[in-house]
Amino acid sequence: MRSRFAAVCRYEFRMQVRKRSLWVSTVGLAVLIAVAQGDRGPRHLPAGTSAAEVMGSWALLFSMLLPIGFGMVLADRLVRDHRIGAASLLASLPTRPGALVAGKYAGSVAATAVPGLLVLLVTAAGEFAHRGDLTLFGWAVAAFAVVLLPGLAFVAAFALVCPLVVSAPLFRVLFAGYWFWGNMLGPAYLPSLTGTLLTPIGDYPASWLMGEKALYAGDSGWLSFLRPEPGGGAALLSVVLLAVLASLPLAFAGPLIARRTSS
């Protein structure tokens, strides 16, 4: 079971990391963000700002848009087995659907994380050029792990499974709408998940890294019990809640695939 999970993970990683659209969308969005950030963006943080705050700010900035690209490119990873005609073969192999789904999930998350991590490391190199602080690289990895990666893992679970129920193009439209509503629409304007622990943009972990409220974390609004004061505990709770939520669609993936294959 474990070796089959590892096999699916390894080959899913290989296929996903070779996907040109993953690199084009990540690099394109990262360049757009880096160039178009306003005066309050991390490029304009004063000298002497801590490396944790610098990289936390960058991670949050990238986390605003990069997951949209991730969601788009991940939306076909499970349904494509049916589209290209590999689903029957996979169903005929002595590998349980759980191992297939878990392997595909882990492999595609890992592959999608590679350009995300590289973007942050390249950014750290740019910051290092004029701040001269080597710890920027360490904080880049840390910021990636707590700000960008949990959101990616959350997005990936839904992006893999939802297209088994609705079409991939429809999912992409709905996902883009959700992303802006649930992450960036200020809670003062409309009831939204923005600023709650369930915000996959990484608002709480970024606030913890930066030592101040990063975006909307904890702002009063709808579902007030999900809006504690930002801090280390709240950041950890946010990451755990996102992981739990991500596991929900994955639990349904096996039966959904089986139903699709047997129809």
Binding site: A7, Y11, R14, R18, S88, L89, S92
Partner: protein, 289 residues
């Protein structure tokens, strides 16, 4: 690995694809003929453990395919080449086979790689082992398909319409390949191309409208058209009665071969039937128009 099927039914919503199939498949190469929509692919998918039956019983090597444990036991000894198999375009031939080998449980790296090398030699793809599958032709893709099916040296190989859409040269090559692997295992070849069965199988079954309408030696199919196959040479229109199986234009007129229980034309002469004509006679009996 023998297969015993009794009263097998499979329904998709209101459509009953299999309506009580009874069939025994001994070892060796076995052909399954039938028109499109006869239920062959549904039967193949059930044998591969991809679909569960709605009713009836299927025993493969003594394992009951209506149970999860039985399906898993059969899948451990199965090679399956589905109709229209899709290959991952981003992987090379070698990587694809390695992936499927791992999913089949071939965990010994050295043994798996050696077997992949042997299979690539066998199907004539050793030269393109490192090439991505993206640009492969239909024939090459089927050969990758049969190579993955043979990984793990399965006791039962199920191939569904493997030669459809291939050019004649590739079809012959593929048929030869299939016949060569049947030595010590059961190979179930599902096809609507009569010639494929004629060239590779001694035993066959014919399906029509979700049922098995014939099972036995391939020569038994030919016998169905004995005394009912005619040749008519005419410069006029084809005979009005019977089924015209072939028409060859020659200087003296067009030579028609016709399957008909009665003489289709006063000038018709009885001829020795082929497998295709036997198949046509059988289908006329099974599904009268």
């Amino acid at each position: 690995m023998d297969i015993m099927i009794s009263g097998l039914r499979r329904r998709f919503g209101r459509v009953e694809a299999l309506r009580g199939v009874d069939l025994e498949v001994p070892g060796g190469m076995f052909g399954l003929l039938g028109t499109n929509g006869a239920g062959k692919t549904t039967l193949m998918r059930i044998l591969a453990g991809v679909l569960s039956p709605t009713g009836g019983r299927v025993l493969v090597g003594g394992h009951d395919l209506t149970t999860r444990a039985g399906r898993l036991a059969v899948q451990r000894r199965l090679g399956y080449l589905p109709q229209d198999l899709g290959l991952y375009p981003d992987l090379t031939t070698q990587e694809f086979l390695d992936y499927i080998g791992l999913l089949k449980g071939l965990d010994d790296d050295t043994a798996r790689r050696r077997q992949i090398g042997e299979l690539l030699d066998m199907v004539g793809l050793a030269d393109v082992a490192g090439r991505r599958l993206k640009g492969f032709s239909g024939g090459m893709r089927r050969r990758v398909g049969i190579a993955q099916a043979l990984l793990g040296d399965p006791a039962l190989v199920v191939v569904d319409e493997p030669t459809a859409g291939l050019d004649p040269e590739e079809r012959i090559r593929f048929r030869t390949l299939l016949a060569g692997i049947a030595g010590h295992r059961t190979v179930l070849l599902s096809t609507h191309i009569v010639e494929d069965v004629a060239q590779t199988c001694q035993e066959a079954a014919v399906m029509a409208a979700g049922r098995v309408v014939f099972t036995g030696p391939v020569t038994g199919i030919i016998d169905r058209a004995q005394g009912a196959t005619w040749e008519v040479v005419t410069q006029g229109p084809p005979p009005a009665t019977g089924v015209v199986v072939s028409a060859v234009g020659r200087p003296g007129g067009t030579h028609y071969r016709v399957v008909s229980p009665t003489r289709p034309d006063p000038a018709a002469v009885p001829v020795q039937p082929s497998l295709e004509e036997g198949y046509v006679a059988l289908m006329r009996e099974a599904v009268p128009s």
